[in-house]
C-alpha cells in the first residue's frame, strides 16, 4: 500500500471554477482507482487547490491490481472435439483463456455440454494503470470555458498546463497530459518563492513542502487564514467591523496562494455618496471588503486581500496604490452622480423611447406604459387605505429612467437602486423612491421582497409584463435554457405574493389574465407557468414535501398565501395516525369511484337518507355532514390546521364503514346511493388538499 499524489500546475485558473474542478478531480481519481481495484471503498483522500494548481492525495493505494480468476465458457463439446481430437475452436478458446488445451474443463448447461476454463487475469502494476487512465480523467474535467494552446493539437483545458507531479509513494508515475510528463518537481509562490524548484521525495510531503514555498494548498486553511486576518486587521480600527461577504471571501480565497490582509482608507468626503455606490465600487470592481463603524454605518476604510506578504514599507506602497485606484473610481462615481443630476429622472422619461426593451416588444417607454396600465388595473382590487395608487404609478413612470444615466451605464448592477436614490435626491416622495429602489427585488429565492406595498406591486407588475410579453413571442424557457430569466421573474412574483408585508389581493390567474391583455390562451400558459413556480416555491423556499405540495395544489393553486397556509397545515397534521388513516380511506374512496366510473356505474344525484340501510353508513353520513359544516367554517377562517384535525376525527366512522359495508352492493339503487355518499365526503373534505395524493409515511 502506498500514498498517491497527483498535482497539475496551471497558469492562473479563473477563481469561479476552482472549487468545482478541485472536487471533480478528486472524485474522478478516487473512482478511477476504485474501478481499477487499486483502492477499497471509503478510502481516505484529500484535495488541494490554488489558482495555479489542483491536487489530490489518496491513501492506501495497492502497488498492483490483484490477479482475478474468471470462469469462461467456450464452444460446445460437439464442436470442440472431432473424434476425440481438439478442433481449432477448442484451441482458440484455450489460447483466449490462457491455458493448455489439456486443462480445459467441461460444464453441463441446459443447452448441453460446453468447454470451460478458469482464466487468470493478471493484475497490472498501479503505476501502469494510473498512467493509462488518469489522462482520460483529466481530459474529462468540466470547465465553463476552456482553451487550446498546443500547436497542431485539439487538446483543450482551462489554461495551459505548466507542470505535473504524480507520485506513488516515492516513485514517479509516468502520467502524460497537456504536453507534459509528470515528475517530482512542483513550484511555490510566483513572487515570494520565484522559479525555484521544489522537489518532492514522497507523496506525503506535499502540503508541508508547499507551505515552505509560500503556498497554502488547502482551500479551507486559506479561507480561515483570510477570515482571521480580516478580523485581526479590522481590530486596529476601534469599534469597526468588516462587512461579512461570503461570496467575496470565496473569490479572494481562490485568487491567492499566500493571502494577507491590508487596511486602506479613503477621504471622508466620499461618504456623501450613497453607500450602495461605494460598496459596489469596492466590492464588485475592486474586490475590497467594506468596513462599518459601531453603528453599522460605512466607515472610510476598506480591506484588500493580497496574494503576498509585505513588510511595513511594502504595505505602505501597496496601500498607497490601492487607495489611489479607489480614489479615481470614487471620483468617477461622483462625476456620474453630479452629471446625472443635470437631467432629472422626469426629463429622462422621453429618452426611454430610444432604449429598446426587446425588439418585438418595443422600447422601455412602451414597457413603462404597459406596467402603468397593469398597476392601474390592480389598484382597484387593493383594500382601501393600504395602497397609494398614485405613488405606485409615479414610480412605474420613472422606474426605468435610470437606464439612461451614466451611473447605471457604469455600474449596471445598480439599476433600480440608482433610480431610487436619484428619485429621493430629486424630491420624489419616499414611497415613490422606495418603490423604484426595490423594483427588481427579489432577485433570488434568498433575497427579500420589496419593502413597501407600492414596491411589491411595481415589481410584480414589471415581472408579469416581461413574462407575458416573452411568452407571447414564444420565448418561454425550455429545459435548462432560460435566456430571459423568466423563471426567476416568476419566482419573484410568487415570493412577493407569499411574503409582501400587506397581502396583494391578486390570484395567479388574475395576474396572468391582466398581464396578457385578453388573450385567453396565452393567459392560461402564463398561469400554468406561475403555478409551476409556486410548486417550486413551496418545495424549495418552504421545504414542503413533494406529495403535500401536489395535494395542496390539486385543491387550489390560485391564491399563493392560501396555498402556503394549507401546505403548512397538512404538514403539521400528516404525522398523526388518525390523519394517515383518513387519508388512506379517502384514497380508497377515490379508487372505488374511479373503478365504478370505468364500469359505467354512476353515483346517485345526491345522498338519499332513506336508502341508507346499514348503521355504519348512516353514522358516516350523519357525522360527515356535521363535520362538513364545521370544516367549512374553519376553512373560511383559514384555520386549516383545526379543519384538518376535525376531518381526522372522522376516522372511527370511516373505518367502521369500510369494515361493514360493501359499496358495490348488488342492488343498483343502494350502490348508487353509497357511491353518492363517498362522492359527497370527498367533495366536502378535499378543499384544503387532495388527501389521496398524500404518500403514507
Amino acid at each position: 500500500m502506498a500514498e498517491f499524489l497527483f498535482e497539475i500546475g496551471l497558469e492562473e485558473v479563473p477563481a469561479r471554477m476552482i472549487v468545482g474542478a478541485e472536487a471533480e478531480l478528486c472524485d474522478r481519481v478516487v473512482k478511477m482507482l476504485g474501478r481499477e481495484r487499486l483502492v477499497s471503498d471509503g478510502v481516505k483522500s484529500r484535495s488541494f487547490a490554488t489558482p495555479r494548481r489542483l491536487a489530490v492525495w489518496v491513501e492506501g493505494v495497492a502497488e498492483r491490481q490483484e490477479d482475478v480468476a474468471e470462469e469462461l465458457v467456450g464452444p460446445s463439446v460437439k464442436v470442440a472435439y472431432k473424434d476425440g481430437t481438439p478442433t481449432p475452436a477448442a484451441m482458440a478458446f484455450a489460447k483466449k483463456a490462457g491455458v493448455e488445451v489439456g486443462a480445459l474443463k467441461t460444464v453441463t448447461t441446459p443447452k448441453g455440454e460446453y468447454l470451460a476454463a478458469t482464466a487468470v487475469k493478471t493484475g497490472r502494476a498501479a503505476a501502469e494503470v494510473i498512467a493509462a487512465e488518469l489522462p482520460k480523467e483529466l481530459a474529462g474535467i468540466y470547465w465553463a470555458k476552456n482553451m487550446r494552446w498546443i500547436p497542431g493539437k485539439p487538446d483543450k483545458f482551462v489554461r495551459p498546463v505548466r507542470w505535473m507531479i504524480a507520485l506513488l509513494g516515492s516513485a514517479v508515475v509516468p502520467v502524460s497530459f497537456g504536453g507534459y510528463e509528470a515528475g517530482v518537481v512542483t513550484y511555490g509562490h510566483r513572487v515570494l518563492f520565484g522559479e525555484q524548484e521544489i522537489p518532492l521525495k514522497a507523496a506525503g510531503e506535499y502540503e508541508a513542502a508547499l507551505l515552505k514555498g509560500f503556498v497554502v494548498a488547502d482551500v479551507e486553511v486559506r479561507r480561515q487564514k483570510i477570515r482571521k486576518a480580516l478580523d485581526a486587521v479590522t481590530r486596529t480600527v476601534p469599534g469597526a467591523r468588516w462587512r461579512e461577504d461570503e461570496e467575496l471571501v470565496e473569490t479572494v480565497t481562490q485568487l491567492t496562494e499566500w493571502p494577507s490582509v491590508l487596511l486602506g482608507g479613503f477621504e471622508k468626503e466620499y461618504l456623501a455618496l450613497p453607500e450602495e455606490v461605494l460598496v459596489t465600487v469596492m466590492r464588485d470592481h475592486q474586490k475590497y471588503f467594506a468596513v462599518e463603524d459601531g453603528s453599522g454605518k460605512l466607515a472610510p476604510h476598506f480591506l484588500t486581500v493580497l496574494n503576498t506578504e509585505a513588510d511595513a514599507a511594502g504595505q505602505d506602497v501597496i496601500r498607497h496604490g490601492n487607495e489611489r485606484v479607489l480614489r479615481a473610481r470614487f471620483n468617477d462615481a461622483q462625476f456620474f452622480w453630479e452629471f446625472d443630476q443635470r437631467t432629472p429622472l422626469k426629463e429622462r422619461v422621453k429618452l426611454l423611447e430610444h432604449v429598446t426593451f426587446q425588439k418585438d416588444l418595443g422600447s422601455y417607454a412602451k414597457k413603462t406604459e404597459r406596467v402603468r396600465h397593469l398597476i392601474h388595473g390592480w389598484s382597484g382590487m387593493m383594500p382601501p387605505g393600504t395602497f397609494d395608487a398614485n405613488a405606485a404609478r409615479d414610480a412605474a413612470s420613472l422606474a426605468k429612467t435610470d437606464l439612461t444615466t451614466e451611473m447605471v451605464k457604469e455600474f449596471t448592477e445598480l439599476q433600480g437602486v440608482v433610480g431610487g436614490l436619484y428619485a429621493r435626491a430629486q424630491g420624489q416622495s419616499a414611497l415613490v423612491a422606495d418603490a423604484i429602489y426595490d423594483q427588481y427585488k427579489p432577485v433570488s429565492m434568498e433575497d427579500s421582497v420589496p419593502w413597501t406595498v407600492e414596491g411589491a406591486v411595481l415589481s410584480a407588475a414589471d415581472k408579469a409584463d416581461t413574462i407575458a410579453g416573452m411568452f407571447g413571442l414564444g420565448l418561454e424557457p425550455t429545459g435548462s435554457k432560460d435566456p430571459f430569466a423568466l423563471r426567476r421573474a416568476a419566482n419573484g412574483i410568487v415570493k412577493i405574493m407569499a411574503e409582501s408585508a400587506v397581502a396583494l389581493p391578486l390570484t395567479l390567474r388574475e395576474v396572468a389574465v391582466t398581464a396578457t391583455n385578453g388573450d385567453a390562451k396565452l393567459a392560461e400558459k402564463v398561469r400554468e407557468f406561475l403555478v409551476e413556480r409556486l410548486e417550486f416555491y413551496l418545495r424549495e423556499a418552504r421545504g414542503q414535501a413533494y406529495d403535500v405540495v401536489k395535494a395542496v395544489l390539486v385543491a387550489g393553486s390560485d391564491d399563493v398565501r392560501d396555498a402556503v397556509a394549507r401546505a403548512e397545515a397538512v404538514t403539521a397534521v400528516r404525522g398523526s395516525d388518525d390523519f394517515a388513516a383518513v387519508s388512506a380511506a379517502f384514497k380508497r374512496m377515490k379508487n372505488i369511484l374511479a373503478q365504478a366510473k370505468e364500469k359505467g356505474i354512476a353515483p346517485g344525484a345526491g345522498v338519499d337518507a332513506a336508502l341508507l340501510t346499514e348503521p355504519t353508513e348512516k353514522a358516516l353520513a350523519e357525522r360527515s355532514a356535521e363535520l362538513a359544516v364545521k370544516v367549512k367554517a374553519l376553512g373560511v377562517e383559514k384555520n386549516y390546521k383545526a379543519a384538518l384535525e376535525a376531518i381526522a376525527t372522522l376516522r372511527p366512522q370511516v373505518d367502521a364503514f369500510f369494515d361493514a359495508v360493501m359499496v358495490m352492493a348488488p342492488d343498483a339503487a343502494v350502490r348508487a346511493n353509497r357511491l353518492a355518499l363517498l362522492e359527497r365526503v370527498l367533495g366536502d373534505f378535499s378543499g384544503i388538499a387532495d388527501f389521496s395524493e398524500i404518500v403514507p409515511g
Binding site: 497558469e11 477563481a15 470555458k145 494552446w149 506602497v317 501597496i318
Partner: protein, 321 residues
C-alpha cells in the same frame, strides 16, 4: 529614470522605450503604429491579420487607440478619447510567456516583491471581428495594468497556433509609476538642457478637448452615415472580387488588396463609433449596423487566410512554419 515628484520614475517616453527595448531583445520586431483609426491595438492588421495562419510572429508596437465615446473633453483625470496601448503578439506563445511578462515589469522599475500582483480571469471578445480569447486582467495593487489574452478565434476561424497577446495600458502604468492622480500630469519627457518637464497634458490636452467636442457635438451625422455607406460599398466590392482569388495568377494574387479591404472595414468601424458617440444609433439599429461591419471584417479575415494559403501553396521552396 527621472526624478518625478520626489521619486525616480520613468517618463512616458522612457516607459515606451524600455518596454519596446525589452520586447525587441526577446525577438519582437518593432512595428510603427498603424495609421488608420482603431479602437484597440488588436484591430491593427499587425495583430488581427497576423494571428491568422500558421506563420510564427513576434511583433510589438505602440498603438494610439481611439474611442470617441470615452472622450471627456479633457476634464476627467482618468478617461481619454485616445489612449496608447503597447501591444505585444507572440505566436505561438512561448511556454514562459507569463514569466517574460513579469520580467518586463521589473524592467520598468516595478519590484514585484514590493507589490501585490494577481492574474484575474478576463476574457476578451470582439464580436464584430468574430474574435475571442481567454486570459486575464493583470492587477497591480488593485490597478488593471495589462490585458493578457490567448487568442482562440479570429474572423470566425479557429487559430492554430494560437497567439499570446499582451496589451499594456501605457497611460495607467505611467501614472502609477510617477504616482500622479491625473493622466494629464504624467511627465512625458524632460528637456535635457533645461530640465523642463513636458507633460502629457501639454502634448495631448488640446486633442482631447477638440476631438471630444467633434465626436459629441460637431460630427455631421448624415455625412457620417454617407461615409459609412461609401466605405462599406468599396470594401464589399473588393470582397466580391476576392471570390476569384483561386483563379488569379501568382502576380495578381499577391497584389490583390486584401489589406486595403481591411482598412476600409476599419474605417467603417471608426465611423460607427463616431455615430455612436453622437447618439445617432438607436439600440435597434445598432445590432443591424454591427452585423453589417461584422460581415466586412470577418469576410476580410477569410480572404486574408485564403490568400495566404494560396500563396504558400504556390511556392516552390518549403513554406516556413
Amino acid at each position: 529614470m527621472t526624478e518625478i515628484a520626489g521619486k525616480k520614475a520613468l517618463t512616458f517616453q522612457e516607459l515606451l522605450f524600455t518596454l519596446q527595448r525589452f520586447w525587441a531583445d526577446r525577438g519582437c520586431v518593432l512595428q510603427q503604429p498603424y495609421d488608420v483609426e482603431v479602437g484597440a491595438g488588436t484591430m491593427s492588421p499587425d495583430t488581427f491579420l497576423r494571428v491568422l495562419g500558421p506563420k510564427p510572429v513576434r511583433i510589438a508596437y505602440a498603438q494610439p487607440s481611439r474611442r470617441p465615446a470615452d472622450g471627456r473633453y479633457g476634464e476627467n483625470p482618468n478617461r481619454l478619447f485616445r489612449h496608447t496601448q503597447l501591444q505585444v503578439i507572440l505566436k505561438p506563445p512561448p511556454i514562459n510567456i507569463q514569466e517574460m511578462y513579469l520580467e518586463s515589469l521589473k524592467a520598468i522599475g516595478i519590484d514585484l516583491r514590493e507589490h501585490d500582483i494577481k492574474f484575474e480571469e478576463d476574457n476578451w471578445e470582439w464580436p464584430v471581428g468574430g474574435a475571442w480569447g481567454v486570459g486575464w486582467q493583470v492587477m497591480l495593487d488593485g490597478l488593471e495594468i495589462t490585458q493578457f489574452t490567448y487568442f482562440q478565434q479570429c474572423g470566425g476561424m479557429d487559430l492554430d497556433p494560437i497567439s499570446g497577446e499582451i496589451t499594456y495600458g501605457m497611460e495607467r502604468i505611467a501614472a502609477f509609476l510617477q504616482d500622479v492622480d491625473s493622466i494629464y500630469d504624467i511627465v512625458w519627457a524632460v528637456e535635457p538642457d533645461t530640465g523642463r518637464k513636458v507633460t502629457y497634458g501639454e502634448m495631448r490636452l488640446a486633442e482631447e478637448e477638440q476631438f471630444s467636442a467633434y465626436s459629441f457635438d460637431y460630427a455631421d451625422v448624415p455625412k457620417l452615415w454617407e461615409h459609412l455607406k461609401l466605405y462599406e460599398a468599396e470594401c464589399k466590392a473588393l470582397l466580391e472580387k476576392a471570390g476569384g482569388l483561386e483563379k488569379m495568377d501568382a502576380l495578381a494574387l499577391k497584389r490583390f488588396p486584401v489589406l486595403g479591404a481591411y482598412e476600409l472595414a476599419l474605417k467603417c468601424s471608426h465611423v460607427f463609433n463616431l455615430l455612436d458617440a453622437r447618439g445617432a444609433i438607436s439600440v435597434t439599429e445598432r445590432v443591424g449596423v454591427m452585423a453589417r461591419i461584422r460581415t466586412l471584417v470577418v469576410g476580410v479575415a477569410k480572404m486574408y487566410a485564403e490568400q495566404g494559403a494560396l500563396l504558400a501553396a504556390g511556392k516552390t521552396e518549403p513554406v516556413a512554419v
